[in-house]
Amino acid sequence: MVVTHKARFLTLALGLIALGACAKSSSTVSSAPTPNRDPRVGLRGGQDNAGEATWNLKVMSKTSPPQRFVGATNSDITFTGNYAIQGNYNGPVIWDISNPAQPKLKASYYCPASQNDVSVFKNLMFVSAEAYNSRLDCADGGVPDSVSRDRMRGIRVFDISDITSPKYIASVQTCRGSHTHTVVEDPKDKENVYIYVSGSAPVRSPNELAGCLNAGQEENSSLFRIEVIKVPLANPTAAAIVSRPRIFQNLTAPTSHGLAPDDIAAVQAAKARGEFVVRIGNSEQVVGGNFTRQLLDSIVKARGGAGAAAATAADTATLRSGIQAYVDRMVGAQNSSGPRPGPSQCHDITVYPSLGLAGGACGGYGLLLDISDVANPVRIDQVADSNFAYWHSATFNNDGTAILFSDEWGGGGAPKCRASDPKEWGADAIFTIENRKMKFKSYYKLPAPQTAVENCVAHNGSLIPIPGRDVMVQGWYQGGISIFDWTDPANPKEIAFHDRGPVDSTRFTMGGSWSVYWYNGAMFSSEIARGFDAFELTPSEFISQNEIDAAKTVHFDYFNAQGQPKLVWPPSFALARSYVDQLERNKCLSSARISAVRQGLDNAEKASGSARSTALNQMTTQLESDARGSCDGARVQKLAAAVKDLANVLP
């Protein structure tokens, strides 16, 4: 009997142990973060079997790169039709994403270079190259000579009319290569497409590419500009640089988040008044009165005079001719054998053609550009960060009333999400745009601390088309992906995430999400070390099923993240119901009215013809009246308009 009990106990115990062991090796934890514990902390590391944590989203698939591209960094993504084109340091990889749960490899093009940032326009694909090892012929082996005809640094143009077989048709070389690029459509020019090239790498020798000049004077320097490439759609092999707009001239001192105190006009006005103006870095600054008086005083005393009060016209002339050199010595500029420093490049430029605006993340500055003349963008405002952010990329909200800059401190190659790293560093900075001026509101940073062996900082992402809200999904390298709501620009909040443990928990290794973007119903992430991930949103207290359904009604034919499309929601019941859900959430419509509207929509949906339209029109009238007394009248108006649109849509 004892033996029997023991045997039974042992086998039961074995079962329990098996279950216990199973729980430990189960790789995904799905739970909400709490103030005391975030499930992203303490995840087991590993290349392919790392622990994972998810919240309010579902992993649809995780796919390894094709053999020849394994071990090379996966970079940015672009989308066209049913395809995602994933950049990789060995060349672009094309996935068929008709079924995001099972991406299928469609094609790839072997062409080693970094960063192989990709974008598309109609039947064309553009790929960025900046590194010294990048070859014109896409062969292995790099380019050993410091000056060489074999080197390609710039934009490659491919014809993808047959997406199974991309054809490399043109190369446009640039002085600093292309770290990233932005495709810009000019609504007034259907025959061409434009590319803003952001080059941040060192300038190449003029012996390698004529005209490249790594010099101080702004007029001829390759440093202080972006390049604009014009691509004739009928003849893309003729793609060429068409302008080099100087958008960095006269940027003033970055002392705070807000408006820089002087703009070009103020400097000009000071000059006109005869005030002293000097160049610091690549900008002009007015010299203060006290300081000039001190200098004048010294000049007068040096010739034996009494002081500044006794200054003659000759003294003033002496000051005027010598003040620049004096200031140069003062700030150490005379020691520099190189260029005048300053934001001499943009890391990334996001254009929003519908609004005629672009956001440039440029060195120490976030720039707001007017791109109504696409070939000649003009700077209209700039902000700098008192936390010394290095701006990387920009995203507008859909209305164009806010802009988010991300600070890619550490270049993406460093662990900047440790508990000891300040929350303002390596984060997103959110600004409102009012009268074409930017005003700082808040920072957003990935809330969960990451380990010292995981590179982590704000990186690429895009808006999720939730109507009436500003929600973004963003890659944070090995911080994983984070979805946050920034509808209130002063109070961004995380509402979903996915994270893995480190690629290697024993040593620092690069990995994580380079970019994650929403495209036609799912979110796709380029995982640097692991491949291609797909996710979908799941309903939660923060996002309802209706809102998810409404998001899925927004369809793109193609998508380049740096060319923001205006999000437009076609009429749908999901759209109307989304607004109802939001008004329930923010309590700006009474629960009685919420129920009534829901019932009304359900009834209308079941009805058809004039019965439906009558019911909907009645609802519209009632809602317009509700709007007047609501704490969120604007949203009720949106609901009313959505209901009205439904009445006009044939069932």
Partner: protein
């Protein structure tokens, strides 16, 4: 007997079911590609590198070490708030960069130097010297900085760090004009990032210094 047998079989079945349930509980099953990926990771040292790459990565370790030493003076020497934020960033960023450079050298079985704020140890004519990298402060400059307080510290710090950063930019130039250098992705990235970040900081520091010296807010 039969009863016992059934129970133990049931328990065994339970264990089996648990294990089977276990394997399908992992999300997103795909073929584990550890072998090729790990092999490829080893191949990440596939890009050739030259003495210029090694000198750059080694020298920059010492260059960064001095920047960190300078920046660490801020709290004790009464730095103002802007300089304090700047020094915080410098310490954080350059400490991490030192680790990256040390790891790169170690992976290639090169000597991994201990960071030396005075410069790189070199043996010339059988005698060991410590050679400062471009832009590094002389002993006299470092002494001046260590003795300065408050606004004086801020101004010396900015002036010397501008000089220091200009030296880093020079080291990048030396690297990329060497044959075969900066083909390695990590070296290229480190050099390119240092070039860009430090040029940006130089501009900011020049403006800060100008504002300080001319009593602007």
């Amino acid at each position: 007997m039969i009863r016992t047998h059934n129970r133990s079989r049931a328990a065994a079945l339970l264990a089996t079911v648990a294990l089977v349930a276990c394997s399908s509980a992992t999300v997103g099953s795909r073929q584990a590609s550890m072998s090729p990926a790990e092999k490829a990771r080893a191949d990440s040292t596939k890009w050739p590198y030259t003495k210029a790459d090694i000198d750059f990565m080694s020298g920059m370790i010492h260059h960064h070490a001095q920047a960190i030493e300078m920046a660490k003076l801020a709290p004790t020497n009464g730095a103002g708030s802007s300089v304090s934020i700047l020094t915080g960033r410098v310490i954080n960023a350059q400490t991490d960069e030192i680790h990256v450079m040390q790891q790169w050298l170690g992976e290639r079985n090169q000597p991994v130097p201990e960071p030396n704020p005075k410069g790189m140890k070199m043996v010339m004519d059988g005698v060991e010297h410590v050679m400062p990298m471009p832009g590094m402060l002389t002993d006299a400059q470092m002494d001046t900085l260590k003795a300065a307080r408050g606004k004086d510290f801020d101004q010396y710090f900015l002036r010397y760090m501008i000089q220091h950063h200009q030296g880093a930019v020079t080291m990048v130039k030396t690297l990329i004009s060497s044959r075969g250098a900066a083909l390695d992705e990590t070296v290229f990235k480190v050099a390119s990032d240092i070039n860009v970040d430090q040029e940006t900081e130089i501009a900011r520091m020049q403006k800060m210094l100008f504002n300080m010296l001319t009593d602007k807010p």
